[in-house]
Symmetry: C2
Subunit: 728 residues, 2 copies
C-alpha cells in the first residue's frame, strides 16, 4: 500500500517507466470501484500478471491519474485487448514471476512468461527507453495502448492524435480529463528497427462524425489517426534473442518538443549507457547522505527512502525550457527549472524542508514553479495539489505558503521575496475558497459550511503563522500583525470542555454530534480529533498549556500511541490501513507526523526517542510491503530520513529541528555548499534508542533542537545512546 | 440555397461574424437530420428568429462545420437555452424582421425584437467587433454559448477551456470534432465596459470526474472553467441607448496569439473606424474590376459575385505568422500568408484561375499553403478539401494539382516548382487513396472498388494532364510521358455503345445496371452520366470525335440543355435543387461548369453565347434567393465573373480562355502588375447575346479563345453584339 512503483526513473525525472499489473476502471456498476485504489501507481506486488509498461506514474499518492502510453510486446496472434488477470492469455497481458524481476534505480527487468519475452526499461529525464528481447517469431508485435491509464474514468479519454511519420517514428498526443482536468501529453516514439506493418483499432462506441474518412481503411498502415479511444500495434519479424528497442519521449508542449527531447537526450541506441547514466545520477543524489547502519536492512530502508524522496516533484519542462502553464499557455522557464506534482498537504511537512538541506537548488526552482503557477492562475491561488498544468484542489490548507516561507526564511530561495509574500497573502485571503471568508470573519471555518472545517482552521492557522514569519523577515509589520493574529485561530476550534479540537457550527456553538475517534463527516480529513488536536506545530507550548500542562499532555500522547482502536475505525476511515497505525497514532496519514516529537516539549523527551525509533522500525521495512501507508510523494520517506538522522522539522518556517533518536550509526551529509554535516552515534544499538547526551561540534547541547544554520555551516552532531531512558 | 451568410468579413478574413437563424443538430431521432443542410452558413432568409452571432462560417458549402463562439445580447430574466423558432421568448434567441436588417460589406445590423436591442457587427481580419445598443435595464446580459455550432454532432464538443482574466477580458479555446476532425479555436474576448458578474452552466450529461472541484461553486463568478459543454453569461446594467461593445479575436494557435491579434488589430473601441477600414479593403478588392452594366441589378449581381469570390480561402495565421499545420504542430509562415478552406473540387475550375488574374499574390500564397499542407501531411497528400488544419477528403479527384500547375504554368507561383511537381506526382501515385492503385494498374477505377469510380477516373485523367503540363514546363520528360498517358484514361470509362461515360467493373466489363440520368450509387458524384460524360476539359476535341463528331456533339449539348427531367431525379440527387438545373444541365453542381463553352469546339459557338447568357440570367439574381445553388466557396461566383467578362478557363493548366458572350457593357480589370485589361461591348443588350466579331487591341480575332498573357499584358477586348446568331 505504499503506492510506489518499481519501474525506472531518474531523480525528479519527467518519465516514470514502470509496469502496470492491472488497469481497472474507476467506475464499476455505476459506482466508485474500491479495487482501483490499489493501482494508484499501477503496480501491486501480489499480482501475477503485467498488462504493460507505461511512462507516467505518481509515487505514493492516495488518489491517481496518469499511466500514459502503455507499451506491451507480444508474439503470435495479435490481441489488442488487455485480457484478464485470471486468464492473461485472453489478451495482450502476460503472466510473470517475481523471481524473474529485477528492480534497480533507473532499471527494471522482467520476463514476460506468456510469450517468453525479456522486458528491460530505463530512462533519461524525458525519454523512456524500452528493450525487449524476443524469441524467434514471424509475428512479433509491439502494442501501443492509447486508452490504457490509471484511474480510468468512463469519459477520461478526451482526444488522441497519432502521426506515423515513417517506419521507425511515431508522434502524437493524448488528452485526458481525470484528476488533472485538462491534460495533454505529447509524445515521440522511435523503434530501433523498422516495423513491417502496423494498424489500430478504434474503441469509441459513440464514434465521431466520419464523413469522407470512409474512403480510407484506417485500421491498417494508416498514418493519420485521431479519435477518442485508439489502440495501435506494430508488427515485426524477430530472430531468437533479437532485441527491439523503443525510445519514447514525452512533452507537455508539442510533438516537436517531444521529438527534440528524444533526439537530444538519447541520440544513440545504447541501452546500457542510458541505464548507467541514470544510475550515476542516482548515485550522486543518494550519496548526498552517506550512512552506516546497524544492519543491511536499515541501509536498504534508508536509501529506499532517499530514492522515494527524490522522485517528486517531477521536472515539467522540455529541453528547450518550454512548459505548459495552468493557463494552458506555453511558457518558457527562463531562469528556473519548472517542476510539477506538488502534493503539498503532504510534502510541506518534511520533504521540502529536507530539500532545503539536501536539494536547495531544486527547492528554489520548485518555489519558482509554484510562483509561476500563481502568476498563471486565473484564480490567483498558489498550488494546493497541482499536477501537469492543473490544480486538483486535493486536501486542506494552503500549504504552498509553508514551503515558500521556509525556503525564504532559510535563505534558500533568493528570488523576489516580496512578490512571494504577495502571492501567499492573496492566496490566504481568497474568501470564496474552502471557508477562508468565514475564517477571516469568525476566526474559524464552521462545519455547516465546510466538510473539513477543523482541519482547514488548524492548517490555515499554521500556514498563517508561516506567512507571519515571512512578513517578519521582510519587515512587513502590518502583514506580520495580521497573520500572527490569524495564526492563533486554532484556539477557536479547541473545546476545553472535552480537551479536543472540535467542529463548530456557524452560530459558534460546538457541534453536538461528535466522536473523537471518527474522521469522516466530522470536520476532519485523513485524521480524527485525537490526531488533529495535536496539530499546532507552530505553538506546541501554548497547546500544551491549554491542554492542561506538560504532564497531562505527556499522558495524552501516551494514550495516543497505546490505545486500542475499535475495528469500525478502520472500516470508516479513508486512506488508512491497520499497518499504518500505532495505537490511535496514524502514521500512514500525515496530520500527526510531528506528534512523536511533541514529547520534546514535555518533561519526557525520551518518549520522543522511544516512539520515533518505534515508528522507524514498525513503519519502514526493506521488504515489498515495507511502507506503513502511501509514501505520499516522498513525505513518508522524508519523515524517515530526518528521523533516522535524529532531528525533525516540527514547524517548517521555523529555523529549528527537534531532536529525536537517530536510527543510523553514522551519517555524513554532503551539502551543496561544499560543507559536510555529520551525525555520529556512540553505543548505537537496536535497543539503545535513548539519548544520554548530544554534542554539537564537540560541545554538549543543552537544548532539544538544532538550528538550520548549524547544519548548513557544517559540523558534527554526536548522539550518545543507551538502552536506559535518561528520564530528564 | 446559396449557403452564403449575410454577416461581416473582410476580404479572405479569418473572421466571418454573422447571425445564426437556427442551430439544428446534425442528428434527429438517431438519423441524419435533412433540415440541417439549410444551415450550412447558419442563415436562412425565410427564418423569423436569430439565435445569435458567431465568428466562423463557410461561404457556400454543401456540407458544414464552424459557427464558433455564439454571442447573444439579452435583457430581463437570464435564459441560457436558445429556445425555439416558434417561441423565441422561450430562450435567448430573438425575433427579427428583414426591414430592420442592414447587410453591407463588413457590416451587419439588425434589431432584435424580443429585447429591443440593436446589434451591429464588423470585423478586422482576425477580430470580430460587436456593438449592441441596449435599452435601459438592470438585467442586461451577454450570452457566450460555447456549445452552439453549425452541423452539431452529438459528440462534436471535445473540450472547452475558459479563463476569465479580469472583468473585461476572457480567453480560452474550443475543441471540436466535426467535418474538421481535430480542431481547436483559441479566443480572446474583451468588453468595452466591465461586467458586474458572470456565470456559466455545464450541459454535459456525462460530466467528467470532479474530485475536489466540488469545493468551488463553479457556476458563478468562477474564472477557471473546463469541460465538454459550457454556456456562459455576463451581466451588466445599461442606460437607455447604451452601447456595449465586444472585441472577439480568434487564433489557430494559442490564447496569447488571440490576445495579440486582438490588441494589435484593433487597439481602440471605434466601431465605425473598423467598419470603414474593412469597407475600404473591400472597395480595393472589388474595384479590381470596374464594370458598367445594362442595369443596376446586373451590377449588384456582379459585385455580389466579386464579394463571394474574395471570401474563401481564408487567412489561417496569426499576426505573428504562426499557424497550426495538419500535423497539429505550430508552424511559422516565414515567406507566405497561410490560407485554409480549400474546396478544391469546386474552386480549381474557375476561382483559382480568376485569382491568377486578379489575385496573383494571394494565389501564390494559397499554393504555398497547399504545399505546406503536403509537407506536414503524414500521408504525403496535397489537400483534397482541407480546412482548419484538417483534411475532410470531400469529393473526388486530386485537384490541388490543377491549381498548382495552373499557377506555375501561368507564371504566378514562382517558388520551388520542382518540389511542387514532386508533391503533385506523389499525391497522384498514392495507391491506397480512392482507387488510384487500380487506376494506375488498369487505367480506370472500377465501380466494384469505389463508389465514385467514373468521377474519379475522369477527374484523375484531367489532373494527370495538369501534371503533364507542369512536367513539360519543367522539362521533366519522363514525368510528362507518364502523365500524358494517364491523362487519356478517360477513354477507359467511355462506353462507345451507348455514348456515355459508364462505370466499369473490376473485370473490365461495363456495369450492366446503369441509368444515364441517375447520380447516386452509379460511380458518379454530384453529376450524372449526361453531365460527367462531357468532363474531359483537357481534350474536348478527342471527346467530340469519340462521340461521333461535331454535329452529333452539338445535338447532344442541345439535348442536355433542353431535355425534360423526370421528378425522381430531384428526389434522388444530392445537393441539387430544381433551381440549379437547366434541362439536364446542372449548374448548381460543378462537373459540367465548362459544358456551355464546349459549343466553341463545334461549328456552333453561338450556342455557347446563347447558353452562357441564359445561365447568367437564370442562375444569378440580385435577390435574397439569387443563387442557383450553393456558391461553393466562390466557384459559382467565379464562373459568373468570367462569363460576364466573356471568357472562361475550360481547362485550367492551359493558357487559353474560351470566349463566350459577355454580360457586362464594359469592364476594366485593374491588374496587380499595374496594367489594365478592358472588355468593351458594342451594341450590348439583353437580347443581343450573340457575338458578331471580337477585336483584341483593335485587331479582329480569328479564334474562339484568348490567352493568359494577352490578358496580363493589358489591352482591350471588344465584342460586337447582336440579337442574331452569327451561325458561323
Amino acid at each position: 500500500m505504499g503506492h510506489t512503483y518499481p519501474g525506472a526513473t531518474v531523480p525528479f525525472g519527467s518519465i516514470q517507466l514502470s509496469p502496470e499489473t492491472d488497469t481497472l476502471s474507476y467506475v464499476k456498476d455505476g459506482k466508485y470501484n474500491p479495487d482501483v485504489y490499489k493501482y494508484c501507481a499501477g503496480y501491486q506486488y501480489s499480482d501475477k500478471t503485467i498488462v504493460g509498461f507505461s511512462h507516467t506514474h505518481f509515487s505514493g499518492t492516495g488518489h491517481s491519474d496518469l499511466g500514459d502510453f502503455l507499451i506491451m510486446p507480444t508474439t503470435g496472434k495479435l490481441q489488442l485487448n488487455p485480457g484478464t488477470a485470471d486468464n492473461p492469455e485472453s489478451g495482450y497481458r502476460s503472466a510473470f514471476s517475481h523471481k524473474n524481476e529485477v528492480a534497480e534505480a533507473n532499471y527494471y527487468k522482467v520476463k514476460l512468461d506468456d510469450d517468453n519475452i525479456i522486458a528491460e526499461l530505463t530512462t533519461s529525464p524525458r525519454v523512456g527507453f524500452h528493450q525487449y528481447t524476443f524469441p524467434a517469431s514471424d509475428q512479433a508485435h509491439i502494442i501501443l495502448d492509447l486508452i490504457s491509464g490509471i484511474y480510468n474514468y468512463p469519459d477520461k479519454d478526451v482526444w488522441t492524435f497519432v502521426r506515423v511519420v515513417n517506419d521507425t517514428l511515431v508522434t502524437g498526443y493524448r488528452q485526458t480529463s481525470g484528476w488533472a482536468r485538462t491534460r495533454t501529453v505529447y509524445f515521440a516514439m522511435t523503434f530501433s528497427k523498422p516495423f513491417i506493418s502496423y494498424g489500430d483499432e478504434n474503441y469509441d462506441a459513440k464514434q465521431v462524425y466520419k464523413g469522407f474518412w470512409g474512403k480510407w481503411d484506417q485500421t491498417k498502415n494508416f498514418p493519420a489517426l485521431a479519435d477518442r479511444k485508439i489502440r495501435m500495434y506494430f508488427n515485426f519479424k524477430t530472430q531468437e534473442g533479437e532485441k527491439i528497442k523503443i525510445k519514447f519521449a514525452l512533452s507537455p508542449v508539442s510533438q516537436e518538443n517531444a521529438l527534440n527531447n528524444l533526439r537530444s537526450e538519447i541520440p544513440h541506441w545504447d541501452f546500457d549507457k542510458v541505464k548507467k547514466d541514470g544510475q550515476q545520477q542516482w548515485n550522486k543524489e543518494l550519496s548526498k547522505i552517506e550512512v552506516t547502519t546497524l544492519n543491511e536492512g536499515d541501509k536498504v530502508s534508508f536509501y529506499t527512502a532517499m530514492y522515494h524522496a527524490f522522485i517528486n516533484p517531477t521536472i515539467y519542462m522540455d529541453l528547450n525550457r518550454e512548459y505548459k502553464g495552468i493557463d494552458q499557455n506555453i511558457h518558457k522557464a527562463e531562469n528556473f527549472t519548472n517542476y510539477t506534482t506538488f502534493s503539498l498537504w503532504d510534502t510541506h511537512r518534511a520533504l521540502h524542508p529536507l530539500f532545503n538541506i539536501l536539494q536547495p537548488d531544486r527547492n528554489t526552482d520548485m518555489v519558482s514553479s509554484m510562483l509561476a503557477h500563481y502568476d498563471q492562475s486565473a484564480l490567483k491561488m498558489l498550488p494546493i495539489w497541482s499536477t501537469y498544468a492543473n490544480e486538483t484542489w486535493c486536501m486542506s490548507g494552503y500549504h504552498s505558503v509553508s514551503v515558500i516561507a521556509d525556503a525564504i526564511i532559510k535563505g534558500v530561495y533568493t528570488g523576489n521575496a516580496e512578490a512571494a509574500l504577495d502571492a501567499c497573502v492573496t492566496t490566504a485571503k481568497h474568501r470564496s475558497y474552502e471557508g477562508i471568508g468565514e475564517y477571516m470573519d469568525k476566526g474559524f471555518v464552521s462545519s455547516d459550511s465546510n466538510r473539513n472545517s477543523v482541519s482547514n482552521t488548524l492548517e490555515y492557522a499554521y500556514d498563517d503563522w508561516c506567512i507571519a514569519q515571512l512578513a517578519k523577515k521582510l519587515n512587513k509589520t502590518d502583514i506580520y500583525n495580521e497573520f500572527i493574529k490569524r495564526s492563533e485561530n486554532w484556539k477557536n476550534v479547541y473545546d476545553p470542555k472535552i480537551g479536543f479540537m472540535r467542529p463548530r457550527l456557524g452560530n459558534g456553538s460546538f457541534r453536538k454530534d461528535f466522536d473523537v475517534l471518527t474522521t469522516n463527516g466530522q470536520g476532519f480529513i485523513e485524521g480524527n480529533a485525537w490526531n488533529y488536536s495535536l496539530y499546532v506545530p507552530h505553538n506546541p507550548e501554548e497547546l500544551i498549556s491549554l491542554m492542561g500542562g506538560k504532564k497531562k499532555f505527556e499522558v495524552r500522547l501516551d494514550s495516543l500511541f497505546t490505545m486500542h482502536l475499535p475495528d469500525k475505525f478502520f472500516a470508516e476511515t479513508e486512506d488508512i490501513t491497520r499497518e499504518g497505525i500505532i495505537g490511535n497514532y496514524v502514521h500512514g496519514n500525515e496530520p500527526a507526523h510531528h506528534a512523536a516529537y511533541l514529547y520534546d516539549y514535555t518533561d519526557a523527551p525520551w518518549k520522543t526517542q522511544y516512539w520515533v525509533r518505534y515508528i522507524l522500525n514498525k513503519m519502514y521495512k526493506p521488504t515489498s510491503d515495507g511502507l506503513g501507508g502511501n509514501d505520499d510523494c516522498g513525505q513518508m520517506s522524508a519523515w524517515y530520513i530526518f528521523s533516522e538522522l535524529g532531528f525533525y522539522p516540527v514547524a517548517p518556517g521555523s529555523l529549528n529541528y527537534e531532536l529525536g533518536s537517530p536510527g543510523i550509526v553514522s551519517a555524513k551529509m554532503n551539502l551543496e555548499n561544499g560543507k559536510t554535516f555529520t551525525v555520529n552515534t556512540k553505543n548505537q544499538g537496536e535497543k539503545n534508542v535513548y539519548v544520554q547526551k548530544v554534542l554539537l561540534n564537540g560541545k554538549q547541547l543543552n537544548r532539544n533542537y538544532i538550528t538550520h544554520s548549524e547544519i548548513m555551516n557544517g559540523g558534527t552532531l554526536e548522539f550518545y545512546m543507551s538502552a536506559q531512558p535518561p528520564k530528564k
